[in-house]
Amino acid sequence: MAIDLRYTDAHRALRAEARAWLEANVPREPLPSFDTAEGFEAHRRWEAQLHSGRWSMVTWPQEFGGRGLDLIEWLIFEEEYYRVDAPFRVNQNGVFLFGPTLMEYGTPEQKARFLPRLAAGEDMWAQVWSEPQAGSDLAALRTTAVRDGDHYVINGHKIWSTRAVHADWGFGLFRTDPASERHRGLSYIVFPLRTPGVRIRGIPQLDGKAGFAEIFFEDARVPVADLIGGEGQGWSIAMATAGFERGLMLRSPARFQRTAQRLVELYRRETAAQGAAPIDPGLGAAVTQCWMDAEAYALATYMTASRLIAGGSIGAEASLNKVFWSELDVAMHRAAIALLGARAELRAQGSEAAAAADEACRWMDGFLFSLAGPIYAGANEIQRNIIAERVLGLPKG
């Protein structure tokens, strides 16, 4: 082991293969928003197309439809993916959160049942954890799943479930021991979102689209076979999922490098075009800082990936990543909105596809979307507590 930041021939071959496939297959026009029925189906078809090229789950083992790539190879694929502005991974909660959890905790039958369909884009997955009274304090959740023969009967109310309006399956956290408190007595159960007794109500987001949903359970019956791991182990399994989420794979650095690149290009164009209205010099500093931070995030991810490949592990420091990328994403979009000035608010006329293709719309939609980053997957205030307590060793409040 020694620091050597050069790609191998195999890395270069992988990059070339990914680039050739992506350039031949990525839709010429951006897909409509995945928060519309039309856009969701278009993104679902893209997932299936990715799978046909065996690019949908590159880090998964070959037996589940993956390529068995390591984390450095995954980073290379992601760089190529975002280089050509390939569509957003609408099933990312399935790909990066549920899939890895199932591989670790699922039975062979469960893996065979769910993973190939997930990889093929046939099942879209939504996370079903938060409740009206259990957000940052997730262990306060109260929705129950009570055993009745070979079924669980679920009653309660979940909320903020991303893409649940259009998805097929949910992976949820329920209280299987109604007498239990806090993180004891919870179980990790999956269920079809169209199960009788499950009612889904979309919640419009800042952009007006129902990107997340609340879910009402009224005696919904789910087979016991769809319990993941042991009854009562839900909390530790969920925390493993949260680790994936905050950790390496949910937000690949390539995405932010591509946004930083677009921001730099926008800044260059606006600087070249400035006439009567000069550009705030502070924006030059903001753009520079954003580019630096996107580079730093990429380098940090390579360093972590290298450490993991060498046998290391990722723990509470994953919270550093989550705070860093989510705040970087907001900063990049804020800078772009400021550069666009009065154009930023304008909506493209006509279709969803037109909006997706319009530069100003892309930035504004991206800005609104970025504001969710510091909130979901554990609000940044919670992440900072985790960093202070588990990385630095400060006492609990």
Partner: protein, 366 residues
Amino acid sequence: MDFTFTEEQELAAQALRGLLDDHCSGADLRRAAEARGAGAFAAARALRRERLKELGLAGVLVPTSAGGLGLAPIDLARLAEEAGRAALPEPLIDVEGIALPMLAQLAAAAPGAHDALAAALAQQATVLAVTPGSGPVAAAVDADYLLVGRSPDELALHRRDALRLTSVESVDPLRRLATVELTDAAPLAVLQGSVARQAWDAAASRSAALIAAQQLGLGARMIAIAVAYALDRKQFGKAIGANQAVKHALADAQMRVEFARPVVYAACAALDASAPPDASASLRVSHAFVAAADAADRAARAAIQVHGAMGYSWEVDLQFYAKRAWTSAALAGGRSAHFARLHRALLDGSAATGPDHLFDAGAARA
């Protein structure tokens, strides 16, 4: 592709940390600062210098053909971090990382530099580089030889006593600043023209990258000092570190240090022991310098605030690390110039952007 240090690199850093824990504690720094160069300070410094010699770092970046260890700047990265963590007053990194490779280049072309190089490799003499046009130089008063230039097109070796040094007070008394003026004395050896310019250019990049590495250590140390204080200090019946306002300030400082770290390591890995960097490596060095200076500054400010009124007092050792971080941010061209350079490169399109360029040719040395 590998982004992990070797076991040897980690062991060397651990050895230096152990040595500095014993011989360069906060209390040692305080005695040195308050003694202002006299008595006990001189004795402690002499002891520390003897112990540092035992690490066997002499000539770490000097080619083996010239009697050195033939290693690369990345081999000094973790050591520089440890030197920063201790706010080491001695110019270990400046001597080994900056001056000695230059002296070896000079000696390869000019026999007049042979004796100085031999003495430096034998750890019997100290040599420092005084960048042409730079301000006062730390620890120059303790050097035996100085590398200077009337312009960046000249690299000349002098005995220190052949030059005119005037001590200057710094807010960081441990830096022992002096201005260095050339005299009519003839140099022991001299290089002219593009070779000299390249040597200075390469030295400037090594200097910026290794100062950045020291800033990582300074930042981490200040956070550690603040955490210890926040655990110890109680108000309203509990440790102040239990308060989220305190936690979040320190978490933010930690985040800036941890995201400067890979940039600094990648910058050091992109540098050669003596050749100037290419354009992309050079930009990465500037990025490293800014990120590490900002991280250390963030840590300094958070740590002082966490200490409350104690943080504003002379009594707390934190000040030595904070002052070193702030004064270091102005070295090697200065944080502002490095940031401006990055901004200009983005604006004129010479900086690579986008997801597939991170380790493009030149940015990654063997």
